[in-house]
């Protein structure tokens, strides 16, 4: 039930960015990833989500159990808030979007088209998507971009509720969310430049 990463090396475009990374996130636990821009946090999250292959090492306990929240929210401008959420709930085999609408204060916006939302409201809708997936592991990449203080608090509450329900979360962020979470700084794991395994890597 836990997510574990063993001796993981990840790269972007065939160039290694992080290497020798090992950690585990148990159920009910959150891990905050820190590191300067370009240090490989997004690449690490994409790798754990299964969107790209690790260059070395293993990821266990992630397949078909993750909800990935990236910089882009995956929203359709022409669909309403409720339609967007219902679609993602159905894709993940779940139903019921009321809890997610309530948790992110979107009740009053349910009939509004996603294209007419403000940046912060879009972000809240994108985060509400994580709740309707029912996935136990949340992978979050800068989840609080364009959120105001009240919305950050809503988000922290949602993460806490998710952890209490036995979920796990891996959050890459620069700000303090007020979560009781371990912090992992990825800077020491930066891969040495030039350690490219094969020049064909980007094409394979």
């Amino acid at each position: 039930m836990e997510l574990s990463v063993t001796d993981l090396a990840v790269g972007r475009g065939g160039v290694p960015v992080l290497a020798g990374l090992s950690f585990a996130v148990a159920a009910g636990e959150a891990l905050v990833l820190r590191g300067p821009n370009g240090s490989g946090k997004t690449t690490l999250l994409r790798c754990i989500a299964g969107l790209q292959e690790p260059m070395a090492g293993m990821v266990l306990g992630a397949e078909d159990r993750v909800a990935y929240g990236a910089h882009a929210d995956g929203l359709k401008a022409a669909l309403s808030v409720a339609e967007n959420l219902e679609f993602w709930a159905a894709v993940f085999g779940q139903s019921g979007i009321e809890a997610a609408l309530g948790a992110f204060d979107l009740d009053g916006l349910r009939a509004r088209r996603a294209g007419q939302l403000s940046a912060g409201q879009k972000r809240r809708l994108g985060l509400a998507r994580l709740m309707v997936t029912g996935s136990p592991v949340w992978l979050l990449d800068e989840p609080t971009v364009s959120l105001d203080a009240a919305s950050v608090a809503l988000f922290a509450t949602a993460v806490r509720a998710h952890l209490e329900a036995g979920g796990a979360a891996l959050v890459a962020t620069h700000i303090d969310l007020g979560l009781e979470a371990r912090v992992l700084d990825v800077t020491p794991y930066r891969a040495r430049a030039g350690a490219i395994a094969s020049s064909d890597e980007a094409f394979l």
Binding site: A72, G74, V91, F92, T133
Partner: protein, 218 residues
């Protein structure tokens, strides 16, 4: 899967979704051809099946570059790839949605447009049947091409170049079936070939498309 199909159809029907684009293009081609070749009904009758098939093929091609690019740009493709749905199934559903919004209207409109091109009475059955059998293959091959070019800005030109050769067998047998029927000949053989090509494409292309898409998402 059904939710994905419904969402794609809904998006196509909403403003800016591009539903009717293929049909409008098809109509433009069919209306302009008689003007460009002149008032010779005999000549029109002879080239009508080929023109109708070519129009349908180009109309399909027109909407391909937005097929996956929209989902890629707003991040929905990443989420779909991490969802517990097989990516092959996702892409097959995308092709089905594309066919329903592009191919199916062309099939239904073909008899009407055939009148404009003076298609003889005995040719309509095979014309509609050949389009109904052939256009699903056009959509499925199109999804493969879209998966190949998904990360590329303005990938439409590359997509067209990659996809056109794959469209050739469908075009040859589809237009041949329609032509033979219009001339009062038996069109069973090209129709069977066309059905075979479509069946093969539908069976293999979802896997090829999913494979290249996984590479492109990295």
């Amino acid at each position: 899967m059904r939710a994905l199909l419904i969402r794609d159809l809904r998006l196509a029907l909403r403003a800016g979704g591009g539903f009717g684009l293929g049909l409008a293009f098809f109509l433009i081609v069919v209306v302009l051809v008689p003007f460009s070749v002149g008032p010779q009904t005999g000549l029109l009758t002879r080239i009508a099946p080929g023109v109708l098939w070519l129009g349908a093929l180009l109309a399909c091609l027109l909407s391909l570059d937005r097929l996956l690019a929209v989902d890629w740009e707003d991040g929905a493709l990443d989420v779909l790839a991490t969802a517990p749905l097989p990516l092959e199934g996702v892409l097959a559903v995308k092709a089905a949605a594309h066919w329903i919004t592009t191919g199916l209207p062309l099939v239904l409109a073909a008899p009407l447009f055939g009148v404009l091109l003076n298609v003889p009475a005995q040719g309509y059955g095979a014309l509609v049947l050949s389009l109904a059998l052939g256009t699903p293959a056009l959509s499925m091959i199109g999804v493969f091409g879209a998966a190949l070019t998904v990360g590329i800005k303005r990938g439409g030109l590359l997509l067209s170049l990659l996809v056109l050769p794959l469209y050739v067998p469908t075009l040859i047998f589809g237009a041949e079936a329609a032509r033979r029927a219009a001339e009062g000949l038996d069109s069973a053989t090209p129709l069977l070939f066309l059905a075979g090509i479509t069946a093969g494409v539908l069976a293999t292309m979802p896997f090829a498309a999913a494979l290249v898409l996984r590479v492109n998402l990295r």
